[in-house]
Structure formats: C-alpha cells, structure tokens
Symmetry: C2
Subunit: 201 residues, 2 copies
DNA sequence: CCATGTGAATGCGTTCACAGCC
DNA sequence: GGCTGTGAACGCATTCACATGG
C-alpha cells in the first residue's frame, strides 16, 4: 500500500487506468473490460489492482472506490503546487489553462527573466521576476515546475529550480536536462512523440 | 538489424540517446559517458547499441556514425507525412511550427470541420474541410495524424483518421482513445505528465 | 458461470564477468 | 589502463493455473 513498493510498470498502468475510470460512467468495471480498453492482460490488471489491497468483488471493481484507492496509493490525493518558468507563448498560455487548478494541482506562480513581461501580462496568479524564484518557491512551498523557457536557457533555469527546492520538472524545451537522480523529470515535446511513433509503426 | 527485433525498452533508450547525440558536439562518445548523462548502466547501453551491429571502437562510438545507425534501425530515415486534425488554438499553432517540417517529417495538410476556419486561416500547408479527409490522406500518403480536436470529438475524429488509412496518432485530447492494436498512439497531455510526476516523487 | 486473488512457472531485460582489442 | 561485445547468471514482471466466492 505504500507508494514505493508499487513497481514502475504498475504505476504507469494505474495512472492510465485512473484516467479511464474518471471518464467512465459505469458504476463498476471488470478486469476483462479493462483488458478490452487497454490491451493489457486481465491477469496483469488484477495483479496491479490487488497491490492496492483486495477491493474487488464478484462483479468487478466499484469505479468510484477503485479510483480513489489509486489516487491515494499514488500520492495524488495531496494537492501539489506548481509554477511556470518562462512566460513566452507557451508559458503564458498555461497561465490561463484551467486544468492546472484542480483538486490535485494548484498553479501558484509564474516567473520570467524579462521584468517587463512580468509586469504587463495579465494573469490569474502572481508573476515574479526570475531572481525571486528561490524566495517565492520556498515561501509558497511549490514542488513542481513547468519549464517553458527557450532551449538555450533550459538547463540553467532547471538548475535554478532545483536549487530552489523543487522536486519535479515538466520540461517543454527540446533538451535533455542533466539533473540529479532525486529530481523527477518529464519531457513534453512533439518531435519526440512523432519519432517514438515512427519507431513503433 | 531489423526494426522488429529491437525490444521496446531498447527502442525508447535509443530514441533518447539519439536526442543526446544530436545536441552533442564531441566527435565520439563512450558508454560510460552516456551512463553519466542518462543514469542507465553502461552495460545496458552497450547491449542496446550492439543490437545495431558492432560499430564501436576502443575509444567509444563515433557520434555521427552512431546517430545515423540509430535513425536507420528505428526507421527514422524515411520521411513521414503528417496532418493536423482540428485547427483551434493548438492545431493552428502547430501549422506554423517549423520543426514539423524537417528531414524526418513533412506537414502535408490540415483539417477542420469548420469550413470557415479552413478558408480564413493563413497556413503554409493546404487546409481542407474534414469531409475530404479520406481522399486527401490517401492521395498525399499521409501516415501520421496530430489530433487537436476538442475532447468530445476526439474519438470519432480518431476513427475517421484510422479509416482513412493513417497508422499513427499523436493525441492531444484528454481522452483515452479506443483504437485497434495496429494503430500506434501517443498521448500528449500536461495533466497526465503532472500526475506521473507526482506519482514518482 | 462469471468474477477476484495468488502462488508457481515462464520469459525477458538487466547485470555480471570476462574475452578481445587499441 | 581504457574501451567494446557477449554468453551466463540473475531478478523482476507477466502469464499460467487454480482456489475461492457470489
């Protein structure tokens, strides 16, 4: 039941399953049904879920119950605070992206080296010049950063984020960040997705 | 050397390695160096690369040589044709995204159900109303679609793409697409990345 | 019969250990 | 010494097979 004893492959599947459950309108779901939707074998699905502690019955799993168990097991029940670093086209678009404020996430600040931009942009969250990053991140207990700066500044901005105490980065720059193993990084870049797709066609 | 005998984990690493090689300025690189940059063990790295056929020497791998071997092995040497489906904010932004026209990819068309939009938008590639999708995709031999339509239309648009003969989809809608196993799908959605991050913190 | 859950067996990827080479 | 490449050992995730329950 502890977060760390769930294997990485299982975690990935549970995250994906959670998404399916949240869209589902049925009150319950079976492992065979999940097999149909995902392609994973029902055995794997049952093993994954049973890692959360036997919460199935003779007619499957109760949707609501299962999703909250997954959220809890994966640590998605605590709300995480986010910040956006780099307020260009992409960054400023995310400032106004509603989904970043939910029961799970809270967008708490935006940063940019360009002081002008920080002052001019209209935003639902406070914006700060980049030199205040450490101070603000600590004060607001922000733990995840969305890195939206241009390629050339990505590495140094990431290091600054890490020094400020952040523990996870979503990286939108087309760069392989060098980060210590304690920092979790997710790269979001279309060309990579296209390549992956092409390699698996 | 054939695409299919390379295991999925190896493919993923090779894709990532390719990205590193392309940024690298050194003329050669060793497995230990790659270990430092990525965290993968040098043994794994060597096994991965040797799957492409022994192209290493006593002082490592020649950068240029290695990248082109990877591109070839993963099928990234053939140029793929792309289309964008759904020309809202996101879709129309990608119309003008230079990286979608490279030696590897060629953006060939855009589609939207809204005929007005198709006529008004300025775009470097031809735009068509959605009902022409099958015809155009076949005529231009497009094989990958970027799905940028709103959530509610994602599933039906995906099906239309598949019927038109596409074999890969990059899905930007926050939906789990139901697709036959022959179709490769990559989902790009920030909330998923954030959740994954949170689950692995 | 259809479900879940779980030890046992299988299969596959990573790691180890060493041979060969510069 | 450094490096690559590769069979052998290992470990872990998936699959199998079966016990249990409505």
């Amino acid at each position: 039941m502890k977060n760390l004893e769930i294997s990485a492959p299982t975690k990935k599947r549970l995250l994906y399953l959670l998404k399916i459950l949240e869209k589902s309108e049925s009150i319950s779901i079976t492992s065979s049904r999940i097999e149909e939707e995902t392609g994973w074998s029902r055995d794997t699905v049952r093993k994954d879920i049973s890692a959360l502690g036997g919460l199935g019955s003779a007619n499957g799993y109760e949707t609501e119950h299962l999703s909250s168990a997954i959220r809890k097991a994966l640590g998605l029940d605590k709300r995480r605070r986010l910040c956006i670093v780099g307020l260009g086209r992409l960054g400023s678009a995310y400032l106004n992206f509603g989904a970043l404020n939910s029961s799970e996430f809270e967008l708490a600040a935006g940063f940019d080296t360009n002081v002008n931009r920080v002052e001019i942009l209209s935003s639902p969250v406070p914006l700060y010049p980049a030199y205040k990053m450490s101070e603000i991140i600590e004060r607001l207990s922000i733990n995840i950063g969305l890195l939206c700066v241009p390629e050339a500044q990505a590495q140094s901005a990431a290091e600054k984020l890490i020094r400020s105490g952040i523990c996870g980065i979503v990286n939108f720059a087309p760069v392989v960040l060098k980060t210590p193993p304690s920092i979790a990084v997710r790269n979001v870049f279309v060309i990579d997705e296209l390549r992956t797709l092409a390699a698996f066609l």
